[in-house]
Amino acid sequence: MSQTAGSRGNNLDPWYDSYAERTSGLAASEVRALFAVASRPEVVSLAGGMPYVSALPNDLIRTAFDEVMTSQGPTALQYGSGQGVPALRERILEVMAEEKIRASVDDIVTTTGSQQAIDLVAKLFLDPGDVVLAEAPSYVGAIGVFRSYQARIVHVAMDADGLIPEALREAISAQRAAGRTIKFLYTIPNFHNPAGVTLSADRRTEIVEIARQNGILVVEDNPYGLLYFDEAPPPPLRSIDPDGVIYLGSFSKTLAPGFRVGWAVAPHAIKEKLVLAAESAILSPSSFNQLVVNRYLETANWRAQIETFRGVYRERKTAMLSSLREFLPELTWTDPAGGFYVWVTMPDELDAKQMLPRAVTELVAYTPGTAFFADGQGRNAMRLSFCYPTPENIRVGVRRLANVVGRELALLDAFAGSGSLRDTEPDRHVISPPPNLG
């Protein structure tokens, strides 16, 4: 019998009723389909977060590859330790020392990108219904992980200086008053994705103290800390309270995401469980990739390479902000001191998700603000990435975006007084761009 739909019908997925409840958000969506257009060269994509790896000399990597295969071939091609290659973990100590983190090699677990570290931490701590506190907005990839463990994500307000301590206190009180269990605070203190802001030094101390007083673990995600434009950000939370913070680092932005090498630094007992959870998930991270990254760190001037990246992204951020000032002066935006992203806030009546089809028609793409909230906030906001397009294309993209905003405002103006024009439901499905979108 062919797969025809007979009298019983056919839903084209015989296992549809077998999926776990936690997979409910894993579905194609209209918005995500629009991102497919953004991969065309005609479209200026300000949507994705791909690092500009073309600024990385090929020779540096090729040399590291060759040397690994020449001197460590059998090891590179073999299973490795679930905790990661010891030599690389030594090097990671040097990288973290740049940000004033002191740790032991034994505290570090290398992972398949820091995304896997987020997943492992969530797996260790989250039962369905547990609360994760996260900034408003927060990293879409972390929201997806927490949702997959059926956690309740509670957003905590932030401003130009990052997470607001008083808002954190209030959120903790409110959740506890509601009888909910808070498992950890997930935070991105430096050059926040997507908000572009940095947590001030004073607030770092205060946030750590609030967490300590309330017995709440902190998960500090810091993929961008070394990519500052002028001044290094204040020391990480981990440097203030090593016993209360799990720190996540990554080579995806300071080297290249294709290696998929990140790491977690955790208090001893947690680290032990992280290693077991990692082995259970993937046995071991790629030995080959870890050894290549290790060789690169050993032989190349990686600090100079990071300085090169800083220059590239500084120029692009400048292009982004000057274009916004020129073409969209009526909007407001953050001014990041590093990293990849600007958070743009539009007038209340505009809905960035609703506007995206028009933007794609005008050959520009961005990520709607709602992607970065678990609760439907962010409708009048968008994340613009300046990491991948050239400064010239950033200018073209923002100019096109201004046309889109102008036409949308004219449309809404025509319908003024006609009742609510906005969809108020939280997004049911993943609406973030795919990771390989520039």
Binding site: A5, N11, A28, V43, A414, G417, G419, S420
Partner: protein, 319 residues
């Protein structure tokens, strides 16, 4: 054509809102033709396409391009200018079908039944004032109504408005996909899609495929997430309704002068009437699309049908 391996160029992707759907359709067509022994290339319609075609033509082009430039007839016009055989309707017919209000009018003029509707540009609302235009719509169209972009597919920008307050939002959503929108009476009944193929003996209506989305609305997510919609092929409708559905599909195919293949979306109401909604000159051919299901329900192999359609296109061009 000689005994040499036939060569098809499948065009998929493009910069329309339906790019992803097009890529999925294109891959399915390419796989099916490859399995039939064809040499198949797949490429994007980009700046290198026309020079590529000028250098060395394939035996046939299969434009698996949904949305603007694929279904609006523009690319087909260029293929005709370059005298390249291609599968599907010519550009004149494609342009008529692409515009939903035009297609409805032509079908109605040929004796078909289609929901009462009105096409309005966004400028209409600006010039006449949205409140008064919305009031006029509310007075003329009892709820629920369907609001959709006048052009485009995959249910993008489509809303079913069940309460008066939602009409303005539905209009705004439709206008984000284009400058013209169609408002039409919502017909309650069984939603079916009827494919039409013409392998050389004239257009033939395939069994109607009934669409039963779990959410109640056959929106983008219901269309392209396997499991979200239950399909019945053939549809669970009376033989009278099945006949009327086939007649409606063939009427639309002929009234618009379509060629090779099409798919007509319609509603079968409680009185077994077949209400024409829209016609697609490039029916979706993805894993979850209805035309492939209709072919299987008719005991046809997708590959042999696609190959026959491609051969038909080559034959039409030589004739």
């Amino acid at each position: 054509m000689s005994d040499k391996q036939p060569h098809a160029l499948v065009l998929a992707g493009g910069i329309s809102h339906e790019r992803e759907v097009s890529l999925r359709s294109g891959r399915r067509v390419a796989d099916a033709l490859t399995n039939e022994g064809w040499r198949v290339d797949m490429r994007e319609p980009d700046a290198s396409l026309l020079p590529h075609l000028a250098e060395g033509q394939p035996d046939v082009v299969w434009p698996a391009l949904h949305g603007a430039s694929g279904e609006d007839g523009a690319l087909r016009a260029l293929l005709e200018l370059q005298r390249v055989p291609f599968v599907g309707s010519d550009y004149r017919a494609a342009r008529l079908a692409w515009d939903k209000p035009v297609a409805k009018t032509l079908v109605a003029n040929s004796g078909g039944v289609t929901p009462r509707g009105v096409a309005l540009s966004r400028d209409t609302f600006r010039e006449l004032g949205a409140p008064s235009v919305l009031d006029a719509l509310r007075a003329s169209f009892p709820l629920p109504v369907v609001v959709k972009p006048a052009r485009g597919g995959s249910a993008q920008g489509v809303s079913i408005v069940r309460d008066s307050a939602g009409l303005a939002r539905a209009m705004v959503e439709a206008y984000t996909y284009g400058d013209d929108a169609l408002v039409e009476t919502h017909i309650s009944g069984v939603e079916v899609a009827v494919g039409v193929i013409d392998l050389g003996d004239g257009p033939l209506a395939l069994p109607a495929v009934e669409i039963e989305p779990l959410s109640g609305e056959y929106d983008f997510e219901a269309r392209y997430n396997a499991g979200e919609t239950r399909f019945y092929a053939p549809a669970r409708i009376s033989s009278v309704a099945a006949t009327k559905a086939a007649e409606c599909a063939l009427l639309a195919h002929k009234a618009l002068g379509l060629r090779h293949l099409s798919r007509v979306d319609m509603i079968i109401d409680a009185e077994d009437r077949a209400w024409f909604l829209e016609v697609n000159v490039l029916p979706g051919l993805t894993e979850t699309s209805t035309l492939p299901q209709a072919l299987r329900a008719d005991d046809r192999e997708l590959g042999s049908v696609y190959a026959a359609l491609a051969q038909r296109a080559i034959g039409d061009f030589s004739a």
